[in-house]
């Protein structure tokens, strides 16, 4: 008795199923493709450096006696409270690194698909438009959250570990919620921001530049306007300043600008809404067959 396998086409005897998260392969692939870019790993790793610094500060704050000699009276500056966490999550360097990560990992998300016409084969699958968009956004959620929420959580846990007690939790019971809220806000905002720019062009290099430049320019513009007009409302022009305002609100701190916080939230929401509109219009599933 012998058998041979014939050349030619064979059928597959599995079943095609609807998975619970149809967008998951898109996210996973987006993340993998980002890591394949040469400089990305370095930029990404660099994004954890503020976390390391703040971790050290927490350690110092718990063992103040040991370090008394170094600080000579200024110890009170390092108190671990909501402001501490807000400082971590909103520090300029971290946000800058996040934008750089978006440049590498996010700029090409939709632009490349438009350039290489792959939308056709995506939508020839039982994939809805919202699955596609959600999958792409989740790539950005992943990177932003891993650079903000996860380190913040680690800092929180380490604070408890070093303090040796749960007193901290009781002192600031809603702190964890603030962390979650603000990290989520950043993730969602940056996702909409990046995808809006990514779907407007077929050239991902161009989008990379624009993602970076708009962020930078918004800050520069604010600086210029501020020096001319000297009104705090100019802060609404800067992405970073709006994030600061929102962060201050969520951590119950005093906002850095004399502008009602609700305006900042509105500006951020407006960007997200515009993005949602443009995305739904741009990704037209029926265009699959011209």
């Amino acid at each position: 008795m012998a058998t041979i396998r014939e050349k030619g086409y064979y059928h597959w005897d599995g079943r095609l199923e609807e998975r619970r998260f149809p967008w998951w392969p898109i996210t996973r692939t987006g993340i993998q493709l980002a890591f394949r870019k040469k400089w990305f790993k370095f930029v990404f790793a660099f994004g954890f450096s503020p976390a390391v610094v703040f971790l050290v500060l927490i350690y110092i704050s718990e063992r103040l006696e040991d370090f008394k000699s170094m600080f000579g009276g200024k110890e009170r500056l390092i108190t671990v409270n909501p402001k501490f966490f807000m400082d971590f999550l909103t520090n300029g360097f971290l946000v800058f690194i996040i934008v750089m990560v978006l440049v590498f990992a996010g700029a090409g998300l939709i632009a490349d698909d438009l350039k290489h016409n792959s939308l056709q084969i995506y939508f020839a699958r039982p994939l809805r438009k919202k699955d596609y968009l959600l999958g792409k956004m989740a790539v950005i959620f992943f990177f932003v959250l891993i650079l903000t929420f996860v380190p913040a959580l680690v800092l929180y846990v380490f604070k408890l570990v070093f303090a040796g007690s749960f007193r901290f939790v009781l002192e600031y019971p809603w702190l964890l919620l603030s962390i979650v809220g603000f990290a989520a806000l950043m993730a969602v905002f940056f996702a909409f921001y990046t995808l809006l720019l990514s779907c407007l062009s077929k050239n991902s290099r161009y989008v990379m530049i624009i993602v970076f430049m708009i962020y930078l320019f918004s800050q520069v513009f604010y600086g210029i306007m501020q020096s001319i007009f000297r009104t705090p409302y100019m802060a609404l022009f800067s992405i970073y300043e709006n994030l600061l305002q929102a962060g201050a609100f969520l951590f119950a701190q005093k906002p850095p600008h004399a502008v009602p916080v609700v305006w900042s939230f509105l500006v951020l929401a407006a960007v997200c809404a515009t993005s949602a509109l443009v995305l739904t219009k741009k990704i037209r599933a029926t265009e699959v067959i011209r």
Binding site: G108, A124, V288, I289
Partner: protein
């Protein structure tokens, strides 16, 4: 019946893209033909589940075209006309990725991706980045992603355009092989009539939104009377006279092609006997059929 539709109609604003289109498709490769603007892409969109028709009903692979569109897209493979790939990936990752998006579990998709890439002839280059692929390889890749989830119905949109002669023949052979499996229905849209004739057993011809012709190519091309095309070597004047004496009508076209209209009841052996008698050598002998090109022109009502 893999596709059954009745009375499909669709309008874009004022333009009637499709009107009253009904047909049933069974086995074998089917060619979808029509002039530009005839409604082919609209029809394909409806059959692939992207568009619901304004009027009319239908099923594709048993799924309703209005209510079960996602199910249709799961079971159908589509090979688009344009180049499409994802930069930075290799063929295996690409094919497996789209297999997953169709609903295959990850490991199965990976296994199947390799199999399919072997089948389409990309085994040597399946680990290379797609950016380095030539035009012929990209066509095969598109075929691979259309086959990875083992669809029961394949739509191929202009599969051989923009390929050099070698590439075209190779892709044609691949499609012929796929179409030869009885349990895969293949629907091919193409402007290259020679390819449709090679690949398809039946055709659907659309014109101005309506179905202009439908059926097996053999039947559509058959001519009722006995018309034979013959090419000979040698001086053919005597040969032709001989046949005319037997009450045939004989025409000679350019290219020295001789058309013989035989009266009913006459045995075609007479042609050979006439050739033997007049000392010419028959080198080409074919019962005439309408060429697909002429059929197309007739049906579309031009010329």
């Amino acid at each position: 019946m893999s596709i059954e539709v009745t009375n499909l109609s669709f309008r874009y604003g004022d333009i009637k893209a499709l009107e009253g289109v009904s047909f049933k498709l069974g086995e074998g490769a089917v060619g979808l033909l029509g002039p530009n603007g005839a409604g082919k892409s609209t029809l394909l969109r409806i059959l692939l589940g992207f568009l619901a028709p304004e009027k009319g009903e239908g099923t594709v692979l048993g799924y309703d075209i209005r209510r079960e569109q996602a199910a249709i897209r799961r079971a159908v493979g589509y090979m688009p006309e344009d180049d499409c790939f994802i930069a930075g990936m290799d063929a295996v990752t690409f094919t497996a990725y789209f297999g997953e998006l169709s609903g295959m579990p990850r490991q199965e998709a990976m296994k199947r991706a390799h199999e399919v890439l072997f089948y389409v002839g990309l085994e040597e280059s399946r680990y290379r980045l797609l950016d380095t692929y030539s035009a012929g390889m990209k066509q095969r890749l598109k075929m691979a992603q259309a086959l990875v989830h083992d669809p029961k119905l394949l739509f191929l949109d202009e599969p051989t355009s923009n390929l050099d002669p070698q590439g075209r023949i190779e892709v044609l052979q691949l499609i012929e092989d796929v179409a030869s499996h009885k349990d895969i229905q293949v629907l091919i849209s193409s402007h290259i009539l020679a390819d449709i004739e090679t690949l398809c057993a039946s055709v659907l011809i659309l014109n101005k939104g309506k179905l202009a012709a439908e059926g097996r190519l053999e039947d559509l091309k058959a001519i009722d009377y006995s018309l034979f095309e013959v090419k000979v070597k040698g001086e053919d004047a005597a040969f032709r006279k001989d046949l005319e004496a037997l009450r045939c009508r004989v025409d000679e076209t350019e290219d020295r092609l001789i058309k013989i209209y035989m009266p009913a009841g006459m045995d075609r052996m007479e042609v050979f006997r006439a050739a033997a008698r007049t000392g010419v050598q028959i080198r080409y002998f074919v019962k005439s059929q309408t060429k697909l090109e002429d059929l197309f022109a007739q049906v579309v009502g031009v010329d």
